[in-house]
Symmetry: C2
Subunit: 271 residues, 2 copies
């Protein structure tokens, strides 16, 4: 047993969808969440910029004595996971591998869709993982650059013509390609599950990055005997890199429950 906390980070607040899953799947674990709200969004940036930011995020989290890190960010995982793992002597779980494993299990017709940020799609990381897991899978991918700003603005509901129009434009080519499984390759996108599901129709399975990585983390902790005492109830601390005033309202959106926590602000560029 190991009571040390797990570090979780994202470019912003999208990674809270993974925290939501962790609270359900690993309720006994302590979590330290960092959201880089001063530099969100990462998904439109270059690979070098993202790697630099991700290294600072990890250095901040490692100022705590952690037992593992969950990279709850599609963009960081696709561009920087290998480098971060090589540089750090603690277990790190990203979102790509577990999500692709699930997608390969789900698909019947071997046609898998991927939606993610521009940086993630450019990286080709999801495609590479899917082909490694099943060489017969055909991947249809599409960058959705407006999904993060629209989700952070709370435009996530059915009947909102703005998000519905943008979703239809992004997703119709994937639907027409006949995919039966769609990877939501960015931890912001589970907020858009209703809208995305309406466009794709009932025949298409949605696989959410945050959720699958939470299960993967549980398996990893179990295998390495790093789990906390299951009789305890874990605590979560929240840190952000910009103003905390709007944190509670926006975080409640991602966590799908009223938040009793507040966030503390840190200067990420000092790390």
């Amino acid at each position: 047993m190991d009571q040390r906390p797990i570090g979780v980070f994202d470019s912003g607040l999208g990674g809270l969808t993974a925290v939501h899953s962790l609270w359900r799947i690993l309720p006994e674990e302590d979590l330290i969440y960092f959201g880089d709200t001063a530099r969100v969004p990462y998904g439109s940036r270059s690979r070098e910029a993202i790697l630099k930011y991700a290294r600072q995020d990890v250095r901040f989290l490692r100022s705590f004595d952690l037992k593992a890190i969950l990279i709850a960010c599609g963009t960081v995982t696709t561009t920087s996971l290998a480098a971060l793992q090589a540089e750090n002597d603690l277990p790190m779980v990203g979102v790509v591998e577990p999500t692709c494993r699930r997608a390969v299990l789900m698909t019947q017709n071997k046609r898998v869709g991927l939606i993610a940020t521009a940086a993630s799609v450019r990286s080709g990381a999801y495609e590479a993982a899917l082909r490694r897991l099943d060489p017969e899978v055909t991947v249809f991918s599409r960058a959705c650059p407006l999904f993060v700003p629209l989700a952070e603005a709370g435009r996530i509901r059915r009947g909102d013509v703005v998000i519905e129009t943008v979703a239809r434009e992004y997703l119709t080519p994937l639907k027409n390609a006949g995919v039966d499984t769609l990877i939501l390759g960015c931890t912001h996108y589970p907020l858009l599950t209703d809208v995305i599901g309406d466009v794709m129709g009932p025949g298409v399975e949605l696989v959410s990055a945050g959720e699958e990585s939470a299960f993967e983390l549980k398996r990893m902790l179990k295998a390495r005997e790093l789990r906390a005492d299951e009789r305890r109830r874990g605590e979560t601390e929240f840190y952000v890199s910009d103003r905390v005033e709007d944190f509670e309202r926006t975080a409640s959106l991602f966590l799908q429950e009223d938040l009793r926590h507040t966030a503390r602000r840190i200067d990420i560029e000092r790390y």
Copy 2:
């Protein structure tokens, strides 16, 4: 006469609308443009974060021997202009003062609308300038957080239900308040002139921040005898802080002409 270049900067590419005006109004001047594309958007960040970024932007520009700086960014002007002016011994023009002077000249019914980023609206800088110029003016202001990401995604055209719906939601309260003048308080917004004009109707004058600050810069250079030789033709150099691959295409959108220039990339966090 003074042939030294003028520095122009913005959080991203919105400030190119001011460059577009400068090319017309001061064609003989050399310009050095910096767009902080690695850290755009500033408008959703805190005042401290914006001031820190703006100081780095000015330090980079001052690595050239400049005669003046145009802050082609509503968010930097509203939050940081006074601090930057106090710290720098060269003339700096922002977008607030010239824009408000124009708005006060245009309004007949003394009801002026302001649209800008969240940080600009929070700062109260436009309201303060308008009241100083004319204490009888009533200001109706509204933050429009989705306008920057939508404009940068090229969603600026009439008939696009996404930008038209968002514009109608943001602007209807201002229209209902009976404003006869609307300040576009962010240098990205001139791209949305058609869409904004359609919602506000023909009775409302639109005052664009980039355009007015270019006129103000011309007056200032003339008064201080800093203008370049009017027979020459100026050159513009472009610098950005993130990948240059998409620069040409996106910049053409803001400059409303095909760009023959490329941008060079610099590491802004070293300044």
